[in-house]
């Protein structure tokens, strides 16, 4: 009893500690610009205002970046999940030469320092003309998201008893039908988890976004935040940046809350004895 109370206290402490920056961000985004430069800083705003948000949404810099962010992240996630699903299935189920090499290679790519790639990519993208375009960001995102997706998904596929698939084949299914009607539904939690992880990766990326874009054409929100300015040169840009940050954080929080249950891979329970 006493022990569990200590666990609760420790848990609350950790939650407060990790939520503080988030709360501070929200608080800042609700403050009028004058609060930021005031001589007596305080945690809560002196007057609550949503003006920062309306201001942010009236800026094409931000609205355009938001569209870019959503579009690029969704497309990259979708492509990566589809490709990774087939690749992971092959790795988990089929025997082919070079399987180990492929897996280690994938891991190697995931460990490659991204910053080292930015320079060459910048030049190459300019030469082939996809600098500052959606596709120019989607390609590097795929490169780094795929290995991770393949690794997570092949782990999920491996958990599915092979007998499921064999049973389906004996029941009269083709390999494709067995995959679509039995394996994919069973792997759904894995697919969702992978999709969410990939989406976060693309959504949060700053390095590629700032280096491979130059205009509103393809600049995503994390990069756009760096270009925010106050209403006048005497005003701080911080409240606007914070308001924009709150706006981009919300989808992430909603995603986590909505798919929390799916991430917990309990769907295979009851497939076999147990």
């Amino acid at each position: 009893m006493k022990q569990s109370r200590w666990w609760t206290i420790a848990g609350v402490a950790i939650v407060v500690y990790s939520f503080f920056p988030l709360l501070w961000m929200i608080s800042l985004s609700l403050k009028p610009p004058s609060d930021i430069v005031s001589g007596e800083p305080q945690f809560l705003p002196t007057s609550w205002s949503f003006e920062n948000f309306t201001q942010v949404f009236s800026e094409p810099l931000f609205t355009r970046a938001l569209i870019n962010s959503i579009g690029i992240s969704l497309i990259a996630t979708l492509l990566s999940v589809i490709v990774a699903m087939f690749a992971a299935y092959a790795i988990a189920r089929l025997d082919f030469p070079g399987k180990k090499v492929l897996l280690s290679l994938a891991l190697g790519i995931a460990m490659f320092p991204q910053a080292a790639l930015v320079g060459p990519l910048f030049n190459m993208w300019r030469n082939i003309g996809i600098y500052d375009t959606w596709i120019g960001l989607i390609i590097p995102y795929l490169t780094f998201a795929l290995p991770l997706s393949i690794w997570t998904m092949s782990a999920f596929f491996r958990q599915i008893p092979w007998e499921m698939e064999q049973a389906a084949q004996v029941d009269g299914a083709t390999s494709w039908q067995a995959f679509r009607k039995v394996i994919v539904p069973l792997a759904a939690p894995g697919v969702f988890t992978t999709a969410i992880l990939t989406f976060f990766f693309c959504w949060n990326d700053f390095l590629f976004a700032i280096s491979l874009t130059s205009t509103n054409n393809a600049r995503t929100v994390p990069a756009a935040l760096a270009f925010f300015q106050g209403a006048s040169m005497f005003e701080s840009a911080v409240p606007y940046v914070m308001a924009a940050s709150v706006v981009v954080t919300i989808p992430v929080v909603i995603l986590v809350l909505a798919f929390q249950r799916r991430i917990v891979a309990g769907l295979t329970a009851g497939a076999v004895k147990g």
Binding site: Q169, D171, L186, T268, G270, A271, K273
Partner: protein, 401 residues
């Protein structure tokens, strides 16, 4: 409905090890065939070759007159029940059973509902149709797996150790259910098990496998009474047959604990002074004081020292240790290992009438009917007295009961 013919089938793995070694087997239409053997004997591999989940290295697999070696599982029209049921966890019981029908794509929804309901009636699954497999008990899941098999008109049913995940009581009930179902539907059935009770009670015929080699195919009764070799003799029967070293000398068979006048069928097959292994079922012994006077004269009596006794209410076992020559003892230990058991010491297991008051640690007088002794060649393990005038009946024809 179809007969299954297996002709000189081999399964070799990458390292050349033959998991199934030149197996030939004819399974008649409507027959209940059991594949039995200790773990690793290739019985499951053989079953999976029939259904098409394992490639056939060489030989022919013929189902219903058609060679199916190169056909995919779905083109063989067989139904299989897996050891761990392999139900689809994301589908309801109804959809699990309907799954093979939906894949065929030639039934209307109305027909599917009717067929599934019929199958559910047969297996008493009506009230569970809307539930998910995870909400069912082990026995219910087993029935769903069987429902998925019977719902379509499969040419044959294949069972891969379907009862091994159930507890002992349920296993007995489901065994009877499977037998009843098979008798009613009359579908050719191949059933893999390592449990000899299932093998003996279910099968029209039983095929015993050892390390990929078919040892004997016969009715359960013939397997029990006329085993071809030491392996089959030791595998079939519980408690297992006793194997005792013996020598034929001066017209008598000398056992470590008794000397028996030789019978003509023994002297015909074994020479003077030849070392033999005798096989005697525990049930061939009796407490001499309780033997029916009418048959007492047919047997011999001898005194032994009983080590321990096990009284089970409806039967009683007594254990009698004896000394065996070391090379024979080593061979018997090897045999025990092949049979997935372990022999700590050479001892005789004797089944006695539960009324018997044989004292543990004391001396007892036992009675034995010599006509029920099997003689085995210690080198080849072959049964030398097979087919001779034993207490058994004539070999049972291998057809439907």
């Amino acid at each position: 409905m179809a007969e299954i013919t297996i002709k000189n089938v081999f399964k070799r793995y990458g390292d050349g090890f033959p998991a199934v070694n030149d197996v030939s087997l004819d399974i008649a239409d409507g027959e209940f065939m059991i594949l039995v053997g200790p773990s690793g004997c290739g019985k499951s591999t053989l079953l999976r070759m029939i259904v098409g989940l394992e490639d056939i290295s060489s030989g022919d697999m013929i189902i219903g007159g058609k060679r199916v070696n190169d056909k995919a599982p779905r083109d063989r029209n067989l139904a299989m029940v897996f050891q761990n049921y392999a139900l689809y966890p994301h589908l309801s019981v109804f959809e699990n059973i309907a799954f093979p029908l939906r894949l065929q794509g030639k039934h209307s929804n109305e027909e599917i509902r009717k067929l599934v309901n019929d199958a559910a009636d047969t297996l008493e699954l009506q009230e569970h149709l809307e539930r998910k497999p995870s909400q069912l008990s082990g026995g219910q899941r087993q029935r769903v797996a069987m429902g998925r098999a019977i719902v379509r008109q499969a040419d044959a049913f294949l069972f891969d150790e379907p009862l091994s995940n159930l507890d002992a009581k349920l296993r007995g009930q489901m065994r009877t259910e499977i037998l009843r179902l098979q008798r009613r539907l009359g579908v050719t059935t191949v059933y893999v098990t390592h449990d000899q009770t299932e093998a003996m009670t279910l099968g029209d015929r039983v095929a015993v496998l050892k390390k990929g080699v078919l040892q004997q195919v016969a009715s359960p009764r013939e397997l029990y009474e006329q085993p071809v070799n030491l392996f089959v003799a030791g595998f079939i029967g519980s408690p297992p047959m006793n194997f005792i070293p013996a020598v034929l000398r001066d017209g008598r068979l000398e056992l470590p604990f008794a000397s028996i006048p030789a019978r003509p069928e023994w002297t015909n097959v074994a020479g003077e002074g030849q070392l033999l292994i005798t096989g005697i079922r525990p049930g061939s012994f009796e407490d001499a004081s309780l033997v029916d006077p009418g048959k007492a004269g047919r047997g011999i009596t001898f005194d032994v020292t009983v080590d321990v006794t096990e009284w089970l209410g409806n039967e009683q076992y007594a254990f009698v240790p004896y000394e065996a020559p070391t090379d024979i003892a080593a061979q018997l230990a090897e045999l025990a290992h092949e049979l997935d058991s372990e022999q700590m010491r050479t001892q005789l297991c004797v089944s006695l009438d539960p009324m018997s008051r044989v004292p543990a640690g004391g001396t007892a007088t036992l009675w034995l009917d010599p006509s029920r002794i099997h003689l085995f060649d210690p080198k080849s393990g072959e049964n030398l007295t097979r087919g001779s005038a034993m207490a058994s009946s004539e070999p049972v024809a291998s057809s439907n009961r």
